[in-house]
Subunit: 303 residues, 2 copies
């Protein structure tokens, strides 16, 4: 079962304590698509400028990402520049150039409106709503957002949240959205806004999932070297929704396994700049880390 994703395709310039890169492939839609493509087919709706090089399109095509919804607009591609200190949990944005994203209006190509699995990556909630108006019988709608929209477009965001099944955001965003410092209480408040499932990204501390009746905690895969966290959250969402779409298993058990697969995918992305690691990772690598997470968390099956 294929996934429809709407998000950004971008050039990232990133500085970490371990190195720096200029204008490499990035963007929420890109990381999500590449990650989800290990599990199922992906339809990417996004916009790039005339400066976007064909080799990046070729990489996505090789990963079986359907690019019929990728518009090319006059002007320059979206650019983001950021820096990380030794505390890799937090990015410091140095520059954002929306460029062609400024006038982006997501239009679904023929056939896309029947998509059953939809991921609205972190973009203006009004654009997220535009997409939802075009899909017909979604089985699962998930979305991401960020502090900028929580404070600046709260009303549109709440309208989006009322229509999504799952919200995938980071811990500080849960607290900000709910206006409540306690995470468990904040999670309850966010669930009351619409989503039946709240998935909280905590960086190196893993993931928490909240539903009305359950809580699930998954650790992050413990890495010797974290090189660049850019794209980790979108890669996580790609593995998560990818696994859900591939298995069509939306039970609690299915969601939990999908979260671990998402977490495993993110563990590869952070090992190198850009999508470099996702270019080389194999299905065997993914399965090996999934089994490692199982061993990592087991406290009753070892006797």
């Amino acid at each position: 079962m294929s996934i429809l994703v709407v998000g950004s395709v971008a050039f990232d310039s990133v500085e970490t304590p371990f190195g720096q890169v200029e204008e490499v492939l990035g963007g929420s839609g890109t990381f999500f698509s590449a990650s989800a493509s290990f599990f199922t087919e992906v339809k990417l709706v996004a916009v790039v400028g005339e400066d976007f090089p064909p080799e990046h399109l070729e990489f996505l095509r090789q990963r079986k990402v359907d690019l019929a919804g990728l518009q090319t607009a006059p002007g320059r591609t979206f650019r983001w520049k950021g820096r990380y200190g030794f505390d890799l949990n937090e990015a410091h944005t140095l520059d954002t150039q929306l460029n062609v994203f400024e006038s982006f209006s997501p239009r679904l190509p023929a056939g896309y409106e029947d998509s059953e699995f939809v991921f609205l990556a972190n973009i203006d909630p009004e654009l997220q709503l535009e997409v939802l108006q075009q899909v017909r019988h979604p089985r699962l709608i998930a979305c991401d957002t960020m502090n900028f929209w929580i404070s600046g477009k709260r009303e549109a965001l709440l309208r989006t949240l009322a229509r999504v099944d799952a919200l995938v955001i980071n811990e500080a965003e849960v607290r900000q959205l709910a206006g409540e410092p306690g995470l468990v209480k904040a999670a309850r408040a966010v669930l009351a806004m619409g989503p039946k499932t709240l998935i909280v990204k905590r960086g190196e501390y893993g993931v928490l999932m909240f539903t009305e009746h359950s809580t699930f905690a998954a650790p992050a895969f413990p890495l010797e070297e974290v090189f660049d966290p850019t794209g980790a959250g979108d890669t996580f969402a790609g593995g998560l929704i990818g696994h859900l779409a591939a298995t069509r298993n939306l039970t609690e058990a299915g969601l939990r396994k999908a979260i671990v697969f998402g977490s495993v995918m993110a563990s590869f992305t952070v090992e190198d700049f850009s999508l470099n690691r996702l270019r080389t990772v194999s299905w065997a690598d993914i399965e090996a880390r999934y089994r490692t997470v199982k061993l990592l968390t087991d406290f009753e099956g070892l006797d």
Copy 2:
């Protein structure tokens, strides 16, 4: 199998966003003993001043804590004053009065030197070494420490670490001790200092255990209300060592279960000031939370 613990018995004055208390029962040895006493007998070696009220001693005796090693010295009991903001992960120390602790020299009463399970709570590493010189055939020695000793008494601390089996410290302390920002690398460096097992406390993010050949991640019990984190780390260690001493199971499987029991014990302590919650918790409460943690982490047993 009983446990020997050396640590502080103190009066705490604590301010959190939810309330404040003056001169309530606290101290690393106290929290550890009360917690471990749910699993096995505890021998507490510590010092109090002449101002220490009999009702606190009575509480510890009721919990079957052996107080033969609790000295009463001329002067005032150790006092600590601290404040927490909404980020309950970090205490801001406002005042520390060592008082009788300043000239404390731990002396083991007859019979204590044969203790098989020994916990050296967070005190001067030179005092920790004095205790180790008095025990004869310990089966498991575990210890805690803090930033103050890591920077100020590094050499004595390294001598202690060379003799302990397990080190139980928080995440920032692991990084500080190793001089390395990456936690996994820092953990390897700390294991090279002597302990075969490193247990990393991460507050609301749970616990990581590292040995040469394994890693284990346990989540914190997700609480609606965290009231006062004071004593959480010592309560955790009490449940951990308590369970190990009660079961005498020091295998990887035994350590993992003990960590979860420690984590469960800490989840009670933080629900109220001082040791108030440990006064009322029942074994049934403890077992129920242990089962909840099992459900919280399971991603393959639900099908």
